[in-house]
Amino acid sequence: MDVFGSFTLLLAFVCAVYAFVGGIGALITRHPLLVKSTRQAGIATCVLIFIGTFSLGYLLFSDNFSQAYVVSHSNRDLSAFYKIAALWSGQEGSLLFWSFLLAVYVISVLIAYRHKNGELMPYVGVILAGVQIFFLTLNNFVESPFKTLANVSASGVLEPFVRLDGNGLNPLLQYPEMVIHPPNLYSGYTGFTIPFAFALAALLARYPGEKWIHLTRKWTMIAWCFQSIGILLGAHWAYAVLGWGGYWGWDPVENASLLPWLTGTAFLHSVMMQEKRGMMKVWNVWLVFCTFLLCILGTFLTRSGVVSSVHAFANSQIGPWFVGFMLLTLVVCFVAYVKNRDYLKSENQLDSLISRESSFLFNNLLFLVACIAVLSGTLFPVFTEWFTPSRISVGAPFFNKIMIPIGLGILFLTGVGPLLAWRKTSTDSLKRNFTWPLAVGALSAVLAYVLDYRNAVSLVCLFLCGFVFWTIVMEFYRGAKVIATRSGMSLMMSAHELAMRNTRRYGGYVVHFGMVLIFIGLAGAAFNTDVQKTMNLGESMKLGPYTLVLQTADTKPEKNYTAERMIVEVLKGNKQLMMLYPEKRAFQGRDQSNGTMVAIYSTLREDVYVVFAGIDPDTNLPVIHAFLNPLVKWIWLGGVWVVMGTLLALMPNRRAALVIAGARQPAVGPVAAALNPSVTLKEGHD
């Protein structure tokens, strides 16, 4: 199977090279047969990558311990669920998995548009094949996942051998979310290849109009959604497994996943400027280019460890390849831009500082500054080592200082943007639109103050959350009222109808609502407290309003590990709330390897987060570290809303038959239009 697997990958490489070279030939000659054959080579590349990936999966599931990759990342007792995770837990496997997910996107695009966009698709095919060639080069010649174990015998001949069992999967990765987090994040990273390919193709082909934006809108949203889920799952994993009580530590790997998300989010907003007003064309193209480059950079940072370890880059085999590929991509993008920049002329100018356009502009500015700040903070050690004799890193205070104001600024614009009209907003409409949201914002801040959330930044954040929340409610209410008046439906049904008629706009608002919830959760971080105590059985500790009693301890043998559990009772006043079981896991397969399992009692108000921190070497008693983290649950709830909003935005718009019927009744029509001029039937507005 290993020979078969590596052969399919080699064949995939050959097909990708054909799709690339033949594709360039097809662009020059325009020969229909060549166009068709290169497209089919592209499809074949993807199918072969699928087979190669399944071969590695088969080797893992069949416990083939003659394979170096299987030995390094699996063992016999590892459950089937985690054998799937073993596929991407190592360098070689994760790079193959990148190719695999990219192939899923590429084959979907090639098949979906096989009879459409004849002018653009040959360019897209060549660009996608180019990206695939890079990853297949790594899969075949640099980091092959199909390596057989062998000994050098006395006579200098290589003799293959088979190990009885493997080393097992890293315990930190044996957690359910680690099985779904990487595929999501990688689907985000790879997914941005599609808008990149279309943007570059449109530029190279000088493809007329904004059609590339319409074509890639859904792909961008899919990639963005996966990236968002991936980031949140990663944060939740860090929270639930690493046991330090937090969910975001500005670690280089975390930052790497945030970077393309920031530019991708900026892009999702700024395309509306291009669609509605024909502005920011150069900016949009470069945002897509940068997002793709940051995806590659993210993969590179995650895999090479260039930031965390002084010598990682020199030791890493893939480092120079990634840097080379990024430089090449940058050069190609730059040349394409310089040659075709007249095609990207803006059709309009900014009219007023208080307008929808300007809110988008400032939104993009903040996202961009955030991206630059995170990027420079992450790569600071690398830069200082290049330009100075010392290597300096920056930590959480740097990121927090700059990212908190930016986050609040973006949250503010989330509320303001939809309330401003395109081109210019009158003072009257400002007053009309802002009074209630500001009042609700003030009310939320007062409520937070009364509830004892007394921290300046958190109060500002909660004020803005209330403000944005009410702007969203108003948007739904106004639109729904128009429909309700015309159709006689209830307000709830009308709101549903409204959302289904313009899924992108109202899906966007649902995403904004999710972000409000996330910000409420983030505001809670200012009030985190923790207590650490060496405890005898029966002893208790106070944690805010809670009392934790260490009832007993036990040992629970499982198939792949043995768990040492502390049984902690949570009481509030005299009321017994629940039992928590924080544990330490000793895994088989790796010497002395341990895992922590945090136990969390989670409510909307706060999380009681209990860690069994180990045995105190002086007293031989268990150490319990307990954290009280307010409002954390809102972050995960917000994540669910973000996903639901994106799914709504991805749905096709429902035909507004009712409104057309309503338009025949002139008595209602103009009133409705006056109530909300932005409720129109035109597909694809924000």
């Binding site: 057989t148 080393n167 890293n170 965390s308 009219d351 007023s352 920056v394 895992g595 180990g614 070497p617």
Partner: protein
């Protein structure tokens, strides 16, 4: 004022104030990376910086005592005694022979006082195949191609 100028001023104010915050954050959190050999050569004010050092935990050197954990890091033949005084429990991956990253400042009597200790991170964890099989010291990998 022209629209362009207004936007220019707005953007300028935002960028400059964020830049100022970044500079403050940098001053608060900058940490120097050194190898153990470099650390031992440091003179004067350079010794007062907050710094981060990496090395391998010497087998048998981990000793716990009230409120602190002492251990020795080794890198390219140089060793450094470290006292960990942080309140967080040491990571599970922190054991003999693990790769550790310590952050803190030089102490008064020769040892390095660490406030944070990280042991090798999950996403970069790579174990050598055949690592627990001492008999095959000449173990190598062969591509099946």
């Amino acid at each position: 004022m022209q629209n362009r100028a207004k936007f220019g001023v707005g953007i300028g104010v935002i960028v400059v104030s964020l830049g100022f915050l970044a500079w403050m954050g940098y001053g608060e959190s900058k940490t120097y990376y050194h190898t153990i050999a470099e650390y031992q050569q440091l003179q004067g004010s350079a010794r007062n910086h907050r710094m981060r050092l990496a090395g391998t935990v010497v087998t048998g050197s981990i000793h716990h005592s009230a409120g602190r954990t002492d251990f020795v890091l080794e890198e390219q033949g140089k060793t450094l005694p470290v006292s960990y005084i942080g309140s967080d429990p040491l990571p599970d991956t922190f054991v003999d022979k693990s790769q550790a990253l310590v952050e803190g400042r030089p102490g008064s009597n020769g040892q390095f006082v660490a406030e944070h200790v990280q042991a090798k991170c999950a996403s970069k964890y790579e174990a050598a195949p055949g690592g627990d099989k001492p008999a095959t010291s000449s173990t190598t990998q062969q591509s099946s191609m």
